[in-house]
Each structure stands twice: as structure tokens, then as C-alpha cells.
């Protein structure tokens, strides 16, 4: 009742309320039953549902007049809360009634209305969203009036006569409206808010403080007058002055209100006023000192709830040293107690404390207890302990901590391994006392949790080993011998095979004198692993073989025979990369000296920030545990984040082995848009394997895909101009690939990427913020259905996403609404229906924009719903063709034109071009071999299915000119088709073509012409970009 949300599974309860399904009888009892039933969400037949809906229409507006009984009003609210989000118009009706109730004199109705308002009525559908905003905007002022008396206000009587009951509901209702729409409450409400905090009734105060927390989190400056009031409330509670017995909970004056008030204070950056500050610190001191552990669980919990909030506040205020050390001492006590909840909170708050102040020394005393917590059976505690260990690690204790983590890794459950291995790897790198230890750790890590060790981690090891400059370089042989040891294991992870193969290939010869480490033996043991690995590892193994062969001193003919056998075997591999390496190594290995040069030891890698540490920093940015930061960041969001299962608590995002797409997309971008071309990217992969594949011809670049379009979609800054900027901020976003090219490719294909951009932060190159927009299409006659998918590849949500279609006159386009927000790493799809009304070459434009942080990015994209999409290939025989051809007598049905300046194409190529836009070449129809005859069917609403015929007469002497005749049963179609083909014959499809509205339709402005993409050679010169595709 009272508007409660009744979507639970209490079917048994429903059966208790006996009632017929149709409320034809007007007696009150039956209607109750019926409404309960409908409220409870019983699945009714479609027809039944319709009846109910129509009833509601009649029922609700009449509510105020017809049903004076309170019971009926309840019914109305129940129904409203059930059906509101489904019916937009109905909602508008409802607002008035609700409004009348809120400003009305009847307290019961006020309560009902306020409770209804506080329901999360808004469905996820956009319609509901609009409704929610409407609600917020039109109701907020009235609700505000309920809260406080305003001398100038006519409505004075409401607030003065309002019982606390109504006012506390009003406060929370306002909070709900504020969350829905922050603009609903204007800043000049600040005085009213402050006035509200003078309230005596603790119930109203509890609700009001919740409202205050939301308001100050949004804008603390406006509400600075509330700060002293919060301190007053705290004082009142702490001294237990004027606190009715009913508001003390196990002897503690409303712990919840205390917590809320302290929470609100944490949103103010500092407390300027010395006297306020002094009284606050007195209160805090009292809490810190006066909280004892007691036997009663509830009392203990309540007092510690207050204590932990006080700790947070002290941390936030950055109090004097004395108080801080008091806090640290308390936390130190908590992390060693047995009570799990307190220990959990102790660990959590200690981690926060680490970020605020230097407490390393004190925490180190507790290291062993924290490590015990890491082995606690409760995963919640283990996670907190892991966070704390991670936070407290420094050079002095790194060895111990990392070893603990490694030990724990073997027993940890699956869900924690990923986080553990990432943290261990980061700590090992950050605080490694010596590099051989680091190599040990990472190899152990790969051994124990290979699945969770991303490529970054092993690249980093190789980089360290290669760059090590010790005079008596022991690291390289050490790494090689370690790698050799791991290879003796029966089953090893593939990553281990990769790293061992790489290290042994480079430095295996350093071990040559040790037993079991001759080139031949190394080869055999590596080669044993080859059958167990997947395709991406094989090229690394082949390179290692080549290097082993090269290093074998003196040359070992037996080894050569074996290695050559392997190369020969892979010469015909289906994988281009493997095949190429096999062929090239084989040929090179016959060349002697050249072979030595090509396979010389890897040069040093340029020093750079570890991608791991960078990753860790990114993670900290997004998932910083610090109370202050998080609270400051936390926006009043309504939705539970459901798409992204990553935990926010300091846990890093799942570390995935980068997929091919990831890499190829970020890599060329990184290398071409980079600020410093000398260190093109943080992608270690490219450097690592760089020299190994220099001999790879540029052709391999094409294995690197920029989406389905292929290699030509190379990035080009000039293409940035193809985005029509909304404002200056757009400049910060650069488009990946050539929009025009993507468009043209999509004109001939049914699916692919339409637009893509990274978000480039100054200096950061490996931004994983790629958002490709793709289209999937299905065409049937004059109907087409496309799916626009928008993928957010960044780790933060994209907001204010809008997609608007600007259709030309000849197309009917319907795009399903795009959600306003795309959660991190999620993809949304919205179908786009296309109907072709008549032939035209105009192009529809998608006006698309989103917000990333404060940047608005917008782009106008042409939708590849072009003329040829509505063509259906059709092949005719000469018996079918010629009668039709002759029937088309001449203009305007049959048009002929001599076209000059045609791109020279051989006849078969031209035939392919025609076929690609679904105009089928009918071979053998024309006796002259230099001529082409083609046919197709065009579909549109006005023409229906219409046969189109075309004849091309080429001149073998001059390929730049030809005569084209196009015919169909519709003059417009003939003209448009002729022009369409002409465009494709003259211009290279990658160039932009003029979008002159041929039929006078109001076509949207086309994007400005774009420059040609950079030559593939430029791309090929960049080994990074090339190599990104190789693995």
C-alpha cells in the first residue's frame, strides 16, 4: 500500500486476496482485489491488460472527485507506481494529481504522494527518463515548500502545520528528485537547507542530513552555511543533550545521524572558522577516546560505526599529528583483533590512512598480522589485506611481501588470482632490490598463474634483461639458465614457452658451456614444446631456432639439418606470419654473414615508463580507495552499475592479454599521433620483436586489421577534419582511420566500422579509449535493417550519448533510441530501419555525439545507405536482355553519355567493380569483347522492383574514356543510376564525392572533403605499427 513497489514474488499472498479479474462490480472490495492483482504483476493476457489500462485512464483523473475514500487513493497510488513508467501520457496526468496532493491539506495524501515520488519509477527506457525529469522539475518547488517555512511564502501554513512525519518524507523526496535532476533544486535553497538543520525532531534531522550530504557532494561552496550546523548537531548528540530516549540506540544517541553529519562534513575541504574547528575536534576526540569494546554486539557495532566515521573525518581534515597518531594506534589495534567486521574495517581504513599520511613504520609492526589476514578464510578480509599489503610495500619489505603474495597465489581462489598476480608483478618491478630477483619473481608468477600474466609483464622482463648494463653481466646468463630450468618441467604455461624461447634465443649461447645447454640441446627442448603451443607462439619459436642456429659455435650441421627441416615444414603454413618467417629464415640461414647481421643481438630498448606501472596508476586513478577522493568523485548516480563486473575497491580491471584488435587499433594510433615520434608507443611488443622482423615485407602490414576495412584505413590527422566539430573541445579527439574511406568501404560491404576515435590525453599514448561504431546490415528489397553498435572501450562511462538521423527526402530512417550513457567497456546496439522511397543519390547523415569527461565529441557521419544497397544482383540471358533493352526506346528512360577522364581499368577489373555494387555483368551478351553489358534490379517504394540495364562501350586504345548507356523503366532511376556509376568510374572510391542534391531534396551538408590517406609505405616504415600485427 501507500505506493509501495509490489514487484516481488508473493504469489501465495495474492491468492489470499480473493477477487475476480475484472472489476466490473463497483464495490470497493472487489476493486481492491483487482488492483492488488494488477499491482502484483500477474501476467495477464494482452487483451486483459488492455482493458486494465483503459480502466486506469478513466480511473485516475476521476480519483479526486469520485473516490473520496482514502482506500481508493491508496489504490490509485499503487496502480500509478506500477504503471507509471509504462505510459508516458498517463504520467503527465498523474503529475497534476500528485501535485495537488502535495500542496493539499490532507496529510495522509501528502504522505502518499511523497512516498510515490520517492519510488524509483523511472524505468530504464528513455521515455521513463523524460517522465522522471518532468516529475522532478514540476514537483521540486512544491516539495521544497513543505520542508521549511518561508515568511514571504503564501504557503506558510503548510510548513508550519506540517508534522515532522510529512517533513521528513519531503526531505527524502526532494533528495530523490535531486538525484533525478540536480537542477531541480536551485542553490538559493541553501538558506532553507541551513534552516532545516536547526530542526529539533531527530527524525526530520536524519532525513535532512541525508539530503544535505547529496547537496554538498554536488556543490559544497553553496552550502557552507550548513557546516557549523552539522557540528552543532554532532555536539548535541555527543553530549547527549536533548536526545529523546527513543532516538538512542543501545545507549548511543542516534548513531546514524552522527554518521551522516560526519559524512556531510567530509565534503567540505576545510573548516576555516577556528571555534567551529575546535568544537568539532573536541567531539572527535571524545569519540576516539571514549569508544570501548563492549560485549553487546549491537552496541559495539553502533559505537564503532561512529568511530570509523570519525576516523574518516579526522583523516580528511588532516588533523594535528597527535590526533593522527591516535587514529593510527587505534587502527593498528583493529587490524589485529579477532572480530571480523572490525578487522575488515581496520584494514580498509589503514589503507586509506596510508594515502593521507606517512604511517609506514607503524604499519610495518603489524605486517605479520596483515599477512595472517591474507590467509583468512573470508574473502572480504583477504581482499582488504591484499590492498593494504600492496599499499604498504616499499623497498625494505618488498621481498617479503611479494614472496607472501606468490605463496598465496598457489592457493588463492580463481577470482583473486588475477588481482594478485598483477599486484605482485607491479610490486616486484617497483621495488626490486636486484634484477635477478625480479626475473625470478616474474618467472614464478608465470609458472603459477600463467593465465593471468599479460604479455606486458613478460615483455618487461625481456626488456630488463636486454637493457641490463652490469659490467660482469650476470643477469643475462642467469635469466637464460632460469628459463632453461623451467623448460624441464613437464607441463608449462604457454607464456613461459614464449619468454623462455625468447631469452634462450637471445642469450642461450651464454650457457653453452653448461651441461645440457648446447645449442642442439636447447633446440630439442624448445622444439618439444612446439606441438603444445598455439599459433601466436610459433613465430617466436621459429625466431629462437634461427638465433640458436646462428649462435651455434662451431656451426653444427646436425642442428642445421633439424632446424631447416622445421623451416621447411612451416614454409607451407596456413598462417602468413609463420610461413613468412619460415621461408625467410631458411633463405637467410644459407647466407652466412648476412644471417649473422640480421640476427645480431637485440639492441637496447629505450627507457620508458613501465606499462605495468602506468596501468597501476590508471587503476588507482579510477579505483582509488581514498575515502576523500572517492567521496568527492562520487556523483549521485541512480543506477547500479550492472554491465561492468569489476569491483571498484582498488581491484585492478581484469588484466587481459590484449587481443589483436586492441593492439592493432591502439598501436598505429599511438605511433602516428604520438607527441614524441622517437618513442612511439608504450607497446613493448613492437620493440621487443622489432629487429626480428625487419625483413618482413610491408605486405605483412595488411595482416594488421583496422576493423574489417583493411589496412588502408590508416590513421591520418587530416581526417580529423572529417568530424564536424561541435566546439573547440572536439579538437582533443582524433579519429582513427579515414572516415570517408570507412564510408566508401561500407558502401560496398554490409558490415564494418563506421567511425572510431581514441581519447588522447596529453602525453599518454596507450589510451585504451577506442570507441568504434559499427554497422551491421541486412537488406531486403527496399527495406533495410542496420544495427548501429556503439562500444565504449574506455574505463569510464560515456555520457550524453546522442545519435540523430538526418534523413534525405528519399529515405525513411528510424533509429531506435540510443541510451544516454554507455557504461565502461560495454556495447550498446540500436537497430536502424531504412526504407527507400525513391531513387536518389543523397546520403543520410548520422549526427552523433557523446561526452567523455568534460569533452564533447561530435561527428557527422554519412550512413552507407546508398543507391546500390537497394540493388539486387540479377543475371540475364540474351533472350531476356535484348527485348527489354529494345523496349526502352530512348531518353528519358534510356540515357547515353560519353564519359571522359575515367580511371583506367582493365575490363575484368571494371567488371569486378560493377559486381561489387551489385550491378551484375552478363558475360557474352555483347559480341564486342570490349563492351560490357550489365543488369540489376532496383527496389524502392515508388518504383517497386525495377529492372535496370546498362551497357559500357570501352575504347581499347584509350581507357580513360567510355560510352555508357543506362536504361530502366523510371526516368529518375535511370538518371540517378547513371550518375552513380559515373561517380564510381571517375573517382577513386576513397576520395570524397560531392553530394549535390540531385533531386532537390534537402540534403544535409556533407562532411568536408578529406585528404587521401597516407601511403602504406609510411606505415610500413614504422616497425611498431608493422609488428603490432605480427603476433
Amino acid at each position: 500500500m501507500e505506493g509501495y513497489d509490489v514487484d516481488f514474488g508473493h504469489m501465495e499472498a495474492v491468492s489470499l486476496i480473493s477477487a475476480p479479474k475484472y472489476p466490473e462490480k463497483q464495490d470497493e472490495k472487489n476493486r481492491w482485489g483487482y488492483l492488488f492483482e494488477s499491482s502484483l504483476g500477474i501476467k495477464l493476457e494482452q487483451s486483459e491488460m488492455k482493458i486494465i489500462e483503459s480502466k486506469i485512464y478513466i480511473l485516475f483523473p476521476a480519483l479526486g472527485i469520485l473516490f473520496s475514500l482514502i482506500g481508493s487513493r491508496y489504490v490509485g497510488y499503487i496502480v500509478t507506481s506500477c504503471l507509471l513508467n509504462e505510459n508516458h501520457d498517463f504520467l503527465r496526468l498523474a503529475i497534476n494529481t500528485v501535485r495537488n496532493d502535495i500542496i493539499g491539506r490532507n496529510e495522509t495524501f501528502q504522505c502518499l504522494a511523497l512516498t510515490l515520488d520517492s519510488e524509483p519509477l523511472t524505468s530504464l527506457k528513455p521515455v521513463g527518463n523524460i517522465g522522471g525529469r518532468d516529475f522532478a522539475e514540476s514537483l521540486a518547488p512544491d516539495v521544497q515548500k513543505l520542508l521549511v517555512s518561508d515568511p514571504q511564502d503564501d504557503m506558510l501554513w503548510i510548513s508550519s502545520s506540517c508534522r515532522p512525519l510529512v517533513r521528513k518524507k519531503a526531505a527524502l523526496c526532494l533528495l530523490r528528485l535531486f538525484r533525478k535532476n540536480p537542477d531541480a533544486i536551485n542553490v538559493d535553497g541553501a538558506d532553507r537547507m541551513a534552516q532545516l538543520l536547526d530542526e529539533r525532531d531527530l527524525g526530520v534531522l536524519t532525513s535532512s542530513t541525508s539530503l544535505l550530504v547529496a547537496l554538498v557532494s554536488n556543490n559544497h561552496e553553496a552550502y557552507s552555511s550548513c557546516l557549523p550546523k552539522c557540528v552543532k548537531i554532532l555536539e548535541r548528540l555527543a553530549r547527549n543533550q536533548d536526545v529523546p530516549q527513543e532516538y538512542t540506540y543501545y545507549g548511543i544517541p542516534s548513531p546514524w545521524l552522527q554518521v551522516k553529519a560526519m559524512r556531510a562534513l567530509q565534503y567540505f575541504p576545510t573548516i576555516e572558522d577556528p571555534s567551529t574547528r575546535k568544537s568539532l575536534f573536541e567531539v572527535l576526540q571524545r569519540i576516539l577516546m571514549g569508544t570501548d569494546v563492549v560485549k553487546n554486539v549491537n552496541k559495539n557495532n553502533a559505537s564503532h560505526a561512529v568511530l570509523f566515521e570519525a576516523l574518516s573525518l579526522v583523516m580528511h581534515l588532516d588533523a594535528e599529528k597527535e590526533m593522527m597518531s591516535q587514529c593510527v594506534a587505534l587502527l593498528g589495534k583493529f587490524i589485529s583483533v579477532r572480530e571480523p567486521n572490525i578487522r575488515y574495517l581496520g584494514l580498509e581504513n589503514m589503507t586509506r590512512m596510508l594515502m593521507v599520511t606517512d604511517v609506514q613504520d607503524i604499519i610495518k609492526k603489524h605486517q605479520s598480522q596483515i599477512i595472517t589476514s591474507l590467509k583468512d578464510p573470508d574473502i572480504s578480509i583477504r581482499r582488504r589485506a591484499l590492498d593494504l599489503l600492496y599499499g604498504m610495500c616499499d623497498v625494505s619489505n618488498a621481498k617479503d611481501i611479494v614472496e607472501e603474495l606468490l605463496q598465496y597465489l598457489s592457493t588463492a581462489e580463481f577470482s583473486m588470482r588475477e588481482e594478485l598476480s598483477l599486484k605482485a608483478a607491479i610490486l616486484a618491478e617497483k621495488f626490486a632490490p636486484d634484477l635477478s630477483w625480479y626475473v625470478d619473481v616474474i618467472l614464478q608468477l608465470i609458472d603459477k598463474a600463467g593465465d593471468f600474466v599479460s604479455d606486458d609483464i613478460w615483455f618487461r622482463v625481456v626488456q630488463f634483461v636486454t637493457n641490463n648494463e652490469d659490467l660482469q653481466d650476470i643477469l643475462k646468463p642467469y635469466a637464460a639458465s632460469k628459463a632453461r630450468e623451467y623448460l624441464d618441467k613437464i607441463a608449462i604455461h604457454e607464456t613461459m614457452v614464449k619468454v623462455s624461447a625468447y631469452i634462450l634465443g637471445e642469450y642461450g649461447h651464454l650457457l653453452a658451456r653448461q651441461p645440457g645447454c648446447s645449442a642442439n640441446e636447447l633446440f630439442s627442448i624448445l622444439h618439444e614444446k612446439l606441438p603444445t603451443v598455439t599459433t601466436p607462439t610459433i613465430p617466436i619459436l621459429l625466431s629462437s631456432y634461427a638465433k640458436l642456429l646462428m649462435h651455434a659455435q662451431p656451426p653444427d650441421p646436425e642442428l642445421q639439418k633439424k632446424v631447416w627441416a622445421v623451416f621447411r615444414k612451416y614454409e607451407s603454413s596456413i598462417d602468413v606470419e609463420i610461413q613468412q618467417r619460415a621461408v625467410e629464415y631458411f633463405e637467410l640461414s644459407k647466407k652466412g654473414d648476412a644471417f649473422m647481421d640480421v640476427l645480431a643481438e637485440m639492441p637496447k630498448f629505450p627507457e620508458r615508463q613501465s606499462s605495468l606501472i602506468k596501468k597501476a596508476e590508471d587503476v588507482e586513478d579510477t579505483a582509488d580507495q581514498s575515502a576523500i577522493k572517492l567521496r568527492a568523485q562520487q556523483q549521485p548516480s541512480n543506477a547500479l552499475v550492472l554491465t561492468d563486473p569489476q569491483p571498484v575497491t582498488g581491484a585492478p580491471p581484469p588484466l587481459k592479454v590484449p587481443t589483436v584488435t586492441d593492439r592493432s587499433l591502439s598501436q598505429p594510433n599511438g605511433s602516428l599521433s604520438s607527441i614524441d615520434p622517437q618513442t612511439p608507443s608504450a607497446d613493448l611488443l613492437s620493440d621487443l620483436l622489432g629487429p626480428l622482423a625487419i625483413e618482413a615485407p610491408p605486405g605483412t602490414v595488411s595482416t594488421e586489421q583496422h576493423g574489417p576495412i583493411g589496412a588502408e584505413g590508416a590513421p591520418d590527422e587530416a581526417d580529423g577534419s572529417a568530424i564536424v566539430p561541435l566546439d573547440e573541445q572536439t579538437n582533443t579527439v582524433e579519429v582513427i582511420g579515414n572516415i570517408a574511406e570507412r564510408f566508401h568501404a561500407l558502401c560496398l560491404k554490409d558490415s564494418g566500422v563506421l567511425y572510431e576515435d581514441p581519447y588522447i590525453q596529453a602525453g599518454l599514448l596507450l589510451t585504451e579509449l577506442l570507441r568504434p561504431i559499427g554497422l551491421k546490415a541486412e537488406w531486403r528489397g527496399h527495406h533495410g535493417r542496420l544495427v548501429l553498435f556503439l562500444g565504449n572501450k574506455s574505463t569510464s562511462p560515456l555520457t550524453s550519448v546522442q545519435a540523430l538521423i538526418l534523413p534525405p527526402a528519399h529515405l525513411k530512417l528510424e533509429l531506435s533510441p540510443v541510451p544516454d550513457t554507455i557504461p565502461p567497456r560495454a556495447q550498446v546496439q540500436s537497430p536502424l530501419e531504412v526504407m527507400n522511397i525513391r531513387p536518389s543519390r543523397d546520403v543520410a547523415v548520422l549526427d552523433f555525439s557523446y561526452k567523455f569527461g568534460t569533452n564533447v565529441v561530435s561527428a557527422k557521419l554519412r550512413i552507407p545507405a546508398v543507391l546500390n544497397k537497394f540493388l539486387q544482383p540479377l543475371q540475364l540471358t540474351s533472350e531476356e536482355f535484348f527485348p527489354q533493352w529494345r523496349a526502352l526506346s530512348g531518353p528519358p528512360l534510356k540515357l547515353q553519355e560519353v564519359i571522359r577522364g575515367v580511371r583506367p581499368l582493365a575490363l575484368p577489373e571494371m567488371a569486378n567493380l560493377f559486381n561489387s555494387f551489385r550491378v551484375t555483368i552478363c558475360p557474352g551478351l555483347d559480341p564486342n569483347p570490349n563492351n560490357l553489358v550489365a543488369s540489376t534490379t532496383f527496389y524502392s517504394e515508388s518504383t517497386g522492383a525495377m529492372l535496370c540495364l546498362a551497357r559500357i562501350e570501352t575504347d581499347p586504345a584509350d581507357r580513360t574514356q567510355l560510352r555508357m548507356t543506362v536504361g530502366s523503366g523510371d526516368p529518375t532511376l535511370t538518371f540517378e543510376l547513371k550518375e552513380f556509376i559515373k561517380e564510381h568510374l571517375i573517382t577513386i572510391p576513397t576520395g570524397s564525392r560531392a553530394l549535390v542534391p540531385a533531386t532537390g531534396a534537402a540534403a544535409p551538408p556533407p562532411p568536408p572533403p578529406v585528404a587521401q590517406p597516407p601511403s602504406p609505405a609510411a606505415l610500413a616504415d614504422d616497425p611498431g605499427a608493422m609488428l603490432a600485427g605480427l603476433l
Binding site: M1, E2, G3, Y4, D5, D7, F8, G9, H10, A13, I70, N85, L114, S118, P120, T122, S123, L124, K168, K169, L172, C173, L175, R176, R179, L202, G203, T206, S207, E246, Y247, Y249, S254, P255, W256, R263, N298, N301, A302, H304, A305, E309, P340, N341, R343, Y344, D378, I379, S380, I381, R383, L630, R631, P636, N638, L640, L642, P645, P647, V648
Partner: protein
């Protein structure tokens, strides 16, 4: 802010579900299933807090019933833990010695109490007396 409140028995039957954020019906079922799985196997010696997606669930077990609150990651855990206890005390007082069956057969009253206790995902009233008095007031109105 409280995202949702669930009252489930050991078998995973949801006895009360109140959402303060809009969720699709299918998503609600999924959430209920997941929360049950998350809390049901936890030892009584464990903490009462457990991470759930990007939020955390504060739960407490009373006989065969699990009371679970899903709150923001930064919210004060113990305060919400005691909030559950206060709710149970109110129910206990109202139904005088509450049991699962009371909640099943008088579910509408449970919702009424909840609406007086928590509104819009925030605590509205922490006085047991005030809520019980309000309940009797409402009961009078309905007669």
C-alpha cells in the same frame, strides 16, 4: 545510498525486495539470485560485508532469513549493519515475535513499515516508537 533491500530465506526464496534504483525485471531476478548465492554460504564467523559488482552487500542472518542491503562502496558498513538490526527490532515489535510466516502473510505491512523506515534509499526514521505509532495510525485509516 541503499540500492536495494532483499529479504531472502536460506533456500533463496525472496520474501521482500525493495529497489531504490530502477532495474529491469530480469535484472532484478539476476541480482536476487546472485546476492543469495553470495551470502548463503558464508560462515557465521565471516564479516557481514561482501563485495557485489561495484557495490557492497551488508547482510545479516536472523534464523533462516538473510537481510541484505546493497550500498555504495564508501558507505559506512557498521551503520547499515545496525540499520538492519533496527529494522528487525521494529518488525519484532510490530508483529510481536516476528517469524518468516508473518512476513509472508503480512507482506503489505512489512512494506508499509519499510516505507516509514527507509525512503528513497536513505534512512527516514530511526525511532522505533515513531514508526510503530505511525503504523497504528495507518491501520486506523484503513478501517
Amino acid at each position: 545510498m541503499i540500492r536495494f533491500i532483499l529479504l531472502q530465506n536460506r533456500q533463496g526464496k525472496t520474501r521482500l525486495a525493495k529497489y531504490y534504483v530502477p532495474l529491469e525485471e530480469s535484472e532484478k531476478h539476476k541480482v536476487e539470485y546472485e546476492v543469495h548465492r553470495l551470502v548463503v554460504n558464508r560462515d557465521s564467523k565471516f564479516t557481514n560485508f561482501v563485495e557485489f559488482r561495484t557495490h557492497k552487500v551488508i547482510y545479516r542472518r536472523y534464523a533462516g532469513l538473510f537481510f541484505s542491503l546493497c550500498v555504495d562502496i564508501t558507505d559506512n558498513e557498521l551503520a547499515y549493519l545496525e540499520c538492519i538490526h533496527l529494522f528487525v527490532e521494529i518488525l519484532d515489535h510490530f508483529f510481536s515475535n516476528v517469524c518468516e510466516l508473518d512476513l509472508v502473510f503480512n507482506f503489505h505491512k512489512v512494506y508499509l513499515i519499510l516505507d516509514e523506515f527507509i525512503l528513497a534509499g536513505e534512512l527516514q526514521e530511526t525511532s522505533k516508537r515513531a514508526i510503530i505509532e505511525r503504523m497504528s495510525e495507518l491501520e486506523k485509516l484503513q478501517q
